[in-house]
């Protein structure tokens, strides 16, 4: 009886801590049913989704009390399959906040025709549930499940535009690549779980530290390396890290810009959250007793792998973006480059973990903060591209020549977003980059810092080329289409652009929040 009581207590607590996801699940059901009840409600799916997202955001948001700290007192829910803590809650807030904006954005852009809106939104909300699971998973199976829940709807969304051949091709490529990498990852998970005897991340950390203390890893070093690399393949695919990035430019070009927005912002955020939980979780967040000599090989291996991965991703993304004429493709490569920047603080966190665990938390805080800035600037850039596509029926950069003559407000918003992506002060992108750079310096990864700094210069050229085309060049289209700032679309753009400026100047509150989420002590 007592056991049952305890189980029920735990269950009810788990369910309450899992409120946002439950709301989303309920929302999906309501969405599906609403079509039967009100077959003619054209905008009903949008309204329902918006309400669901806002409600979930309200439940997940930082306003309900304080957060447990990940790796210290994070609260296990569903008997330790998931965890409720600051890291997960922050990323959920981010994902759900994006989702609320995204629903409005879909409504404005008119991409899923009202007849298909329910399908699109059901798939999207399903993916959101998957991402929420990803960022709070404490068990490798749940982590895998979350990843697949997020990925499978994305494949369908990429091919949502059924009449466009390109879109179908994109979905196909995406699905094949995704399935292959998921298989590899699953294999890696089974190997790692086999070596460590468990799939629960905290328990795996204990086992790993025991192995490390033994000094020679009982001859299982090769399997450990192999399995972690395989798991990394799956995550690198989600993050579009080099060399698992091939799908991204094609998918971004083929799929609708709306889908690209979602893939480039929250999908990355969820994958980074999961990577952080995995890497730092398996090392016990530096809290566990560890002999330095024992963990040194693991730390070195992870730091070198992650540094190489991030440096290659960042540099490749920035260089490959030079030759692009399609703006979605260009932004795709920019997404790759930014994934590289965002991998860097994780490498820095591992590097300092056993030297000063609080600095590792600082590094995670910089990552979280960067994600916030990235959300706004990238969303603004993608939203501009989407609205321009609607007006121009084209996604070629050259077609936007001289846009400033008809749509100065939109060009200003786009320029601010792009300069922020370059990382120029006083815009949000600079604050984020500066924070990440500081984590690299604290982590002692000077070479990575220099590479990142050089990449900033490299990236300038292709971002500025878009601005140059819009501002300096002579229009090629006659008449030149117009997107007014004083229209719902324009106002939406402005709403996304204002945080790009504000976060560049007054970033202390958001950064504090990120520090709290990551558990950096003050």
């Amino acid at each position: 009886m007592i056991d049952l009581h305890r189980t029920l207590d735990h269950l009810s607590f788990s369910l309450s801590a899992w409120g946002p996801e439950l709301v989303l699940c309920a929302g999906i059901v309501v969405l599906l049913l609403s079509r039967m009840v009100f077959p003619l409600g054209r905008y009903l799916p949008f309204v329902i989704s918006l309400i669901v997202c806002c409600l979930a955001l309200f439940l997940a948001g930082p306003w309900n009390g304080t957060w447990p700290i990940v790796g210290e007192n994070s609260v296990p829910i569903f008997s330790g399959l998931l965890a409720w803590d600051g890291l997960g809650a922050f990323l959920k807030t981010l994902i759900l906040g994006f989702s609320a904006l995204f629903v409005v954005f879909l409504w404005l852009s008119g991409f899923p025709k009202p007849a298909h809106a329910t399908d699109f939104l059901v798939l999207y909300l399903g993916a959101v549930v998957g991402m929420c699971v990803m960022v709070s998973a404490e068990h490798l199976l749940l982590a895998f499940l979350g990843m697949e829940m997020a990925s499978v709807p994305s494949y369908v969304l990429a091919g949502f535009d059924r009449r466009a051949r390109q879109s179908a091709e994109a979905a196909m490529k995406f699905a094949v690549f995704g399935a292959a990498s998921a298989g590899v990852m699953l294999y890696g998970i089974s190997l790692l779980g086999g070596v460590l005897g468990t799939f629960s991340i905290p328990q795996m950390a204990d086992q790993l530290m025991l192995l490390a203390a033994s000094g020679d890893y009982h001859g299982q070093a090769v399997i450990l390396v192999l399995s972690s690399l395989m798991i990394l393949v799956g995550l690198a695919f989600k993050l579009s890290a080099v060399p698992f990035h091939f799908w991204l430019p094609d998918v971004f070009e083929g799929a609708a810009a709306e889908v690209g927005t979602f893939l480039s912002v929250v999908s990355k955020a969820a994958a980074l959250g999961l990577l952080t939980r995995l890497v730092l979780g398996l090392l016990g967040y530096g809290v566990l007793e560890a002999t330095n000599a024992g963990v040194l090989p693991i730390v070195t291996f992870l730091v070198v792998t992650l540094s190489l991965l991030s440096a290659a991703t960042c540099t490749y993304g920035n260089l490959a973006a030079y030759g692009q004429n399609n703006i979605k493709r260009l932004l795709g490569y920019s997404t790759i480059a930014h994934a590289g920047y965002m991998l860097m603080p994780i490498a820095a966190a591992v590097a300092v973990l056993f030297r000063d665990a609080s600095l590792a938390r600082w590094a995670i805080a910089t990552l979280l903060f960067y994600l916030v800035t990235y959300l706004f600037m990238n969303f603004a850039a993608f939203a501009t591209v989407t609205f321009l596509r609607n007006a121009f029926r084209s996604e070629t950069i050259a077609d936007f020549a001289g846009l400033i003559r008809t749509s100065p407000g939109v060009v200003v918003c786009m320029s601010l977003a792009l300069f922020s992506l370059v990382g120029l002060p006083p815009l949000a992108g600079f604050a984020g980059k500066f924070a990440i750079f500081s984590s690299l310096v604290f982590g002692g990864l000077w070479s990575l810092f220099v590479i990142a700094a050089i990449n900033t210069v490299l990236s300038l050229f292709y971002y500025v080329r878009i601005i140059k085309t819009m501002v300096f060049d002579v229009p090629v289209r006659d008449p030149l289409p117009q997107v007014r700032l004083a229209s719902p679309k324009g106002i939406f753009l402005a709403v996304l652009t204002v945080p790009v400026i504000v976060l560049g100047i007054l970033w202390q509150p958001v950064f504090m929040l990120a520090c709290r989420a990551a558990g950096y002590p003050w």
């Binding site: 100065p408 300069f419 120029l424 002060p425 006083p426 600079f430 500066f434 750079f437 500081s438 310096v441 604290f442 000077w446 810092f449 220099v450 700094a453 050089i454 900033t456 210069v457 300038l460 050229f461 500025v464 140059k468 501002v471 300096f472 970033w507 202390q508 950064f511 504090m512 520090c515």
Partner: protein, 599 residues
């Protein structure tokens, strides 16, 4: 103290506020927009002018008068005035920290002064006046912020804020190759900024305020928050961006910046090198000067005036404010490098100017040459071990600072003069000019004053700075002084030759001869103001030295103290440093009758 911060903040952000207001103007109201822009710059100029005017009655009852009295700048004081820090981003210990001293004050005044003249010269801009004015005012905010910021992060933000307006101002309103020039300017500056960012984080990471003695902490004007933190016991280092605290950390014995980092060189050495390159790109010194001729030639006249008159000065200001005080060790070891770049820029700039066909390009290269004097003056570290006589380096640095002001006036004037001619005849080919004297006598007279000021004719402002720099170089290395002095001949050569080709001659035979109308009142006022300034500061340089010299001298004295201390430390530990690149200092008798400007 807060009143000072508020006052300086108003000075910095008034132009940005003006830009915000301009956004609500209808874009066809060009007249109103131009006048508003001019009005805003004028108000800013008057506000900065308030700093140097004498105080009112101290014990005034009227609070406004009291505030106006409080915000004056007391001449002869070497320290920072109106310095006050409030926390901005406390996670990184970043403060919103403004302040002014004798080094920044003349540059702030130069900025607000030239901004008024450039705004007045902007009547020649007829395309998209509204956007132009907004960007122009944002640019002014960035420039003033750079000179007033005393927090490294804030400095960096203002430094970068200028980039975007400048990019668009060159790229939209420039000449035929404007896009190329704009992106080149952008790329060069961004490379410099990124190097600076690396150095900033390097210094930030190495710094720890808690190592400073308490009185030094107080003198650094740390914000209340940081001060409290620095007193609380804590295991974690307390990093800082405070420029004053960083300088004190850099000059203290056992400085944390002397930790070796890479290649056996210390933090100070690397930070100095990275910052130096970043600033030299802006100055610009050979070999990173190539953006300048393009940017100048393509930029519209008022923007050229700003570019040459103010933006280039930021490089020199950064070197004197940041490089030397914070990283003296790097400065000492790399003095030869700085001087070398300075002298090469002087010679190369002058020779390149001689070879130009394009009037504006000639003026641009003359800027490279003149800014070379600044670099040489700043770099001539002539403190001899054992002697530590700071007199000559004081001369050099005062000369360099004066040269920056003088060049600000003369180069802005020259670009304006070229612009006046270009507006009329629409070409700048030196070989097609001649005989302008006959058509535009007033214009020619004013031009010749400005050109002679650039040439360094005694009695005009260019002379004072150049001669002081040459004197200082003499005690550092005679060879450099000889080369530097001969550059004056080269300068005279290209300027006199230019005057002959453009103004003298029988008659103008180039295109659009009919358009050579006399100066308008507005043009006359701009050129005349600059000519008068050139004469005033040439005859009475004390007007500037009064404010500048105490601060400059204190900087040098501190560095001399640092050097003495370091030498003693080395002597104590057994290695006596004998820098091989310093020549013997037997020149005192030659110069002993000359007073350093401070005295």
């Amino acid at each position: 103290m807060v009143a000072g911060l508020v006052f300086l903040s108003i000075v910095v952000f008034l132009p940005a506020f003006g830009a915000l207001v301009l956004m609500f103007f209808p874009s066809h109201a060009e007249r109103a927009i131009r006048r508003t822009t001019l009005g805003v710059t004028l108000v800013v100029f008057l506000l900065t002018l308030r700093l140097v005017l004498p105080g009112l009655h101290a014990a005034s009852q009227n609070p406004l008068e009291q505030v106006l009295h409080d915000v004056r700048f007391a001449a002869g004081e070497p320290g920072y005035q109106h310095a006050y820090a409030v926390p901005w981003i406390s996670s990184f210990h970043i403060d919103y920290f403004l302040g002014v001293d004798g080094i920044s004050l003349p540059l702030v005044l130069l900025t607000s002064f030239l901004s008024v003249l450039a705004a007045a010269a902007s009547w020649s801009v007829t395309k998209h006046v509204k956007a132009y004015s907004i960007l122009f005012l944002l640019l002014e905010t960035g420039m003033l912020g750079v000179f007033l910021a005393l927090d490294f992060f804030l400095f960096y933000v203002f430094w970068e804020v200028m980039l975007l307006p400048m990019y668009f101002l060159i790229g939209v309103w420039g000449g035929p190759r404007r896009e190329y020039a704009a992106i080149k300017f952008f790329l060069f500056t961004l490379v410099g900024s990124v190097l600076m960012l690396i150095a900033i984080l390097l210094l930030y990471f190495a710094s720890d305020v808690r190592q400073l003695p308490e009185n030094a902490r107080r003198e650094s004007f740390l914000s209340q928050e940081v001060m409290v933190k620095s007193l609380a016991p804590s295991e974690k280092p307390l990093h800082t961006f405070n420029l004053i605290a960083l300088a004190k950390l850099g000059q203290m014995p056992d400085s944390p910046f002397q930790e070796p980092v890479l290649g056996g060189k210390s933090v100070a050495w690397w930070a100095f090198l990275l910052l130096l390159i970043g600033f030299l790109i802006k100055v610009p010194a050979v070999p990173v000067h190539t953006w300048l001729p393009d940017a100048h030639v393509e930029a519209p006249t008022p923007i050229s005036m700003i570019l040459a008159g103010i933006l280039l000065k930021m490089g020199g200001y950064g070197i004197i404010r940041i490089c030397y005080p914070i990283c003296p060790q790097g400065g000492y070891e790399l003095a030869w490098f700085v001087c070398l770049l300075g002298i090469v820029s002087m010679v190369y700039g002058a020779l390149a100017a001689m070879a130009q066909q394009d009037f504006k390009r000639l003026v641009a290269y003359s800027s490279v040459s003149h800014m070379g004097y600044v670099v040489l003056g700043l770099g001539a570290w002539s403190l001899m071990p054992g002697l530590y006589d700071p007199q000559y380096w004081k001369m050099g640095m005062n000369g360099a600072m004066f040269q920056m002001i003088a060049h600000g006036i003369s180069s802005a004037g020259m670009f304006f003069v070229v612009g006046v001619l270009y507006d009329r005849v629409h070409h700048r080919d030196l070989n097609q000019f001649g005989g302008i004297f006959g058509r535009m006598p007033v214009y020619t007279a004013l031009s010749i004053v400005i050109f002679f000021a650039a040439l360094g004719l005694p009695g005009l402002c260019g002379f004072v700075g150049e001669i002081l720099v040459i004197f200082a170089a003499f005690s550092y290395s005679r060879a450099l002084a000889v080369i530097g002095a001969s550059v004056m001949v080269l300068t005279a050569g290209y300027i006199l030759w230019t005057i002959r080709r453009v103004y003298l001659g029988a008659e103008y035979r180039g295109p659009h001869a009919e358009a050579l109308s006399p100066l308008t009142t507005r043009e006359f006022l701009i050129a005349a103001t600059l000519s008068v300034a050139a004469v005033v500061f040439g005859v009475y340089p004390q007007a500037i030295f009064r404010y500048m010299a105490p601060s400059v001298n204190r900087t040098i004295d501190e560095l001399a103290e640092w050097m003495k201390r370091e030498a003693n430390l080395h002597a104590a530990s057994g290695h006596i440093s004998h820098p091989s690149d310093l020549e013997s200092g037997q020149t005192e008798d030659l110069l002993s009758h000359r007073d350093a400007p401070s005295q």
